[in-house]
């Protein structure tokens, strides 16, 4: 009995080996044939697309509209890649080609597709098209059940850059959308997003306040410094405070300096002190040179390390402090000066 079972098993396994080998060969044949066909079909449309873009979309639209559907399908990845790369009139003209070929309408329809990959792909395309009409349906995707779709929706809304999306982007943070993606999207919307972003500094959720601060740093509006300083007066969450110091570092301005000097005090958590020490250098707070010099012997490595780096950024006054510390045997000062010398040599 056992021998019979084993014999049957051997035959089944031999069959499977043959079948799997055959499938591998067939897959390769089909893939090669498909790739060759695609390549052949896409060759002429690709040339037409490149010529169209090179002409800034002034000529050749009719040629692109006349491309047979199969050939367009083969060339569409090239068209989408171009859409990501070109700006201005060429982008508008290419977006018009997509619209007149019905691709845009199809993408809008596919935002409601049952398959997540279809929804995400459509969202990505609409973002690249920078289609304002897509803002509302894309905002709905911010609540999609699939995280990958939500992420693409955030990026697409950032690419479109319509202020209507700002508030909803901040709301999406409660659905596991990463801070940096929302901050990037808000930054791409730019100053038009500022009212929503400033409002977010008063929201209860720490993650929303952190994102708003990251976005403010990226948008780079100096008028935001006052709002951030006010936030620091009432903020207790160390993660939010770290983000606030990062934003102040990016925005700069004299008003940023006093809260940063307060934040490097040893009573604060190490991560807050590190962020504040770094920001003082980025801001170029010469008035803080004395404070930073006092941190060179701090027992927390990162605090001392950042303080030394910041003193380099403060120019002659900061570097004078470093030299004095180095002469007294300050290791962080010696390191910072050595690196500064090399960096100076770079410039």
């Amino acid at each position: 009995m056992a021998i019979v079972v084993l014999t049957i098993a051997i035959f089944v396994l031999a069959g499977l080996v043959l079948l799997l080998t055959l499938v591998a060969v067939l897959i390769r044949i089909v893939r090669h044939a498909r790739n060759r066909r695609r390549e052949r079909l896409a060759r002429a449309p690709r040339r037409a697309l490149l010529a169209f873009v090179a002409e800034g979309g002034q000529e050749g639209m009719e040629d692109l509209l006349a491309i047979p559907p199969a050939a367009w399908q083969a060339a569409e990845p090239t068209a989408v890649a171009l859409l990501e790369k070109v700006r201005g009139e060429a982008h508008q003209a290419l977006a018009e080609v997509f619209a007149r070929r019905g691709v845009t309408t199809r993408a809008l329809r596919q935002l409601g597709h049952f398959d997540a990959a279809h929804r995400a792909r459509a969202a990505e395309l609409l973002g690249n098209l920078r289609l304002t009409e897509a803002v509302a349906p894309l905002c709905r995707l911010l609540a999609d059940g699939k995280p990958e779709v939500r992420l693409v929706a955030v990026r697409a809304l950032g690419a479109i850059g319509h202020p209507e999306a700002a508030g909803l982007l901040l709301d999406a943070l409660t659905r596991d959308v990463p801070v940096h993606m929302v901050a990037d999207a808000l930054a791409r919307i730019g100053e038009a997003a500022l009212p929503e972003v400033h409002g977010a500094l008063r929201r209860d959720e720490a993650v929303v306040r952190i994102t708003a601060l990251e976005a403010l740093g990226l948008i780079g509006s100096p008028g935001s410094v006052r709002a951030i300083v006010e936030l620091l007066d009432r903020e207790a969450d160390p993660d939010v405070r770290v983000a606030a110091f990062g934003a102040l570092g990016r925005l700069g301005g004299r008003a940023a300096v006093p809260p940063l000097i307060t934040a490097v005090a040893p009573t604060n958590p190490p991560e807050v002190r590190v962020a504040a020490a770094r920001a003082l250098g980025v801001v170029g707070a010469v008035a803080a040179a004395e404070t930073l010099a006092g941190l060179l012997s701090d027992p927390t490595y990162r605090v001392a390390h950042e303080a030394a780096g910041s003193l380099v950024l403060l120019g002659p006054k900061g570097q004078a402090h470093l030299r004095r510390s180095a002469e007294a045997g300050g290791a962080h000062a010696r390191e910072a000066l050595a690196l500064a010398e090399l960096t100076g040599a770079e410039g």
Binding site: L20, I27, P178, H180, M181, H332, E335, L339, L342
Partner: protein, 478 residues
């Protein structure tokens, strides 16, 4: 009567071993099926990964690449050059020369115009080999750091690298690895998508032998001339590419290759850095991260990224392969001993209840079972407990199932990434499937059993040296 009992036991053992073969191969098949699902998801999502956005974003996480190097003069310069030119916005490369006795450091110094700097080395994690000097590239002092230290082993070097790493993410890379241009973007992407929970990501490691490497990038992928390496390519597809992807899907990934893995620096530091008392320090770190994060009640993820890849040189001679596999199995034995408290412990979730028990039963013990089969089957034949007809059928069925599994992995590669585009490579892969199961596995079992045995006996670990051809013109023609 005793003879009857012995005969019964032998007969039972034969069936048990056969059952073990069925179970182990079935488990591989399950992992391949899980990996297939992941590959479909990965490939369908390739159109909207947002890698370009990550590259352009000023908020993308900065990464310190830590490269431990011991006598790597043959390929260290092109390797570092390639790492520096990876497509990633903010990186720092920290090369730790672990007391090389060749001219590894001299070559780096001459090529990158290194300058010694009085760098303060923090002691966030302990290391035993004293740091002798720290150097930076004159033209890019914040991008390339080279540390010279007293020899202390790979884990010790990684700890020095961890201490000197400036960025929040650290990527551990072998000095002989060649990374795809997009590799770092891909393994960091999960951190960007899920920055709060992501603790570590592992990238797939493939075999570079036979491939053409130009300017630190693999530009033409092909099977090498040596059958030993071809078999390893098939083995890597089954065990690493599909196996680890499957475990990642199950939430039980416990091995991230030291050749290419990204970790949150703060978590590694909090866990105590790399362990220096095991030769499997890469996997041990991952298991320890699971342990510490589970104990802390943290919601975290450790995932495997199947593409793009890191390419490594595989041993082309049996002796080197033996050294490598003894070390790997020794590492596994040590890890399972160190973390035995996690085994079958529900506190550690799928890692404690599924992954580690699996590694114990189907990885650590597998070579012993294989070798036992080699002894028991002939003995049973001689004693007439099984007849020849039964014995050969049993062996063919057991190894035939193994071939089906390896072939499934090869097919999955063909369906998904199809990196080997030549027909001849496909044919060589198919032959490699046969050779992997007949001959290779049995020899490997001997080395693996030896490695585990040495670990249990407490024999002192030695690294051995692998002759490297490097990735210059020598590999091009291979």
């Amino acid at each position: 009567m005793w003879a009857e009992v012995a005969r019964g036991l032998l007969e039972g053992a034969n069936y048990l071993i056969f059952g073990y073969f069925i179970l182990i191969n079935s488990s591989y098949l399950v992992l391949i099926v899980l990996a297939a699902g992941e590959f479909v998801r990965h490939l369908r999502g390739a159109m909207f990964t947002g890698a370009d956005d990550l590259f352009r974003s000023p908020l993308s996480p900065a990464v310190s690449l830590i490269v431990p190097a011991y006598n790597e003069a043959a390929g260290i310069v092109p390797a570092v050059q390639a790492l520096i030119s990876l497509r990633y916005p903010r990186i720092e490369v920290v090369v730790v020369d672990d007391g090389s006795t060749d001219d590894t450091f001299d070559r780096l110094r001459d090529h990158f115009d290194l300058v010694e700097v009085p760098r303060v080395v923090p002691r966030d994690v302990p290391h035993s080999g004293a740091v002798e000097s720290v150097h930076v590239a004159r033209a890019a002092p914040r991008t390339l750091v080279v540390v010279r230290k007293v020899n202390g082993g790979k884990a010790d070097s990684l700890n020095v690298g961890l201490n000197l790493a400036s960025h929040d993410l650290v990527c551990m890379v072998d000095a002989d690895s060649v990374l795809d241009n997009e590799a770092l973007l891909s393994v960091v992407k999960p951190f960007a998508d899920d920055p709060v929970r992501m603790a570590a990501t592992g990238g797939v490691v493939r075999i570079a032998n036979g491939c053409r490497v130009t300017a630190g990038r693999v530009v033409d992928i092909r099977m090498p001339r040596e059958w030993l390496v071809r078999i390893q390519i098939v083995e890597y597809l089954r065990a690493f590419l599909t196996g680890r992807t499957g475990w990642s899907r199950l939430g039980g990934l416990v091995v991230i290759s030291g050749a290419f893995g990204v970790f949150r620096r703060d978590l590694v530091v909090a866990a105590g850095g790399m362990a220096t008392d095991t030769v499997g320090e890469d996997a041990e770190l991952v298991v320890r991260l699971h342990r510490t994060l589970r104990r802390a009640g943290r919601d975290y993820r450790i995932v495997f990224v199947a593409e793009p890849v890191s390419w490594s040189e595989a041993p082309a001679a049996m002796r080197q392969l033996g050294t490598q596999r003894r070390r790997w199995h020794r590492g596994l034995a040590e890890i399972l001993t160190i973390h035995r408290g996690m085994l079958f412990n529900p506190r550690y979730g799928r890692v404690g209840m599924v992954a580690l028990p699996y590694y114990l039963v189907f990885e650590l013990l597998a070579p012993f079972v294989e070798l036992l089969a080699f002894v028991l089957l002939p003995v049973s034949l001689m004693l007439g407990i099984v007849n020849l007809d039964f014995a050969w059928r049993l062996a063919v069925a057991a190894y035939g199932y193994g071939m089906v599994v390896s072939l499934s992995a090869l097919l999955l590669e063909e369906m998904s990434f199809h990196r080997y585009s030549r027909w001849s490579d496909l044919a060589r892969g198919a032959v490699g499937v046969v050779l992997e199961n007949v001959g290779y596995r049995q020899v490997l079992a001997y080395y693996q059993a030896q490695g585990a045995w040495w670990a249990w006996r407490g024999k002192k670990a030695t690294w051995g040296t692998q002759q490297r051809a490097g990735f210059g013109s020598e590999s091009e023609g291979a």
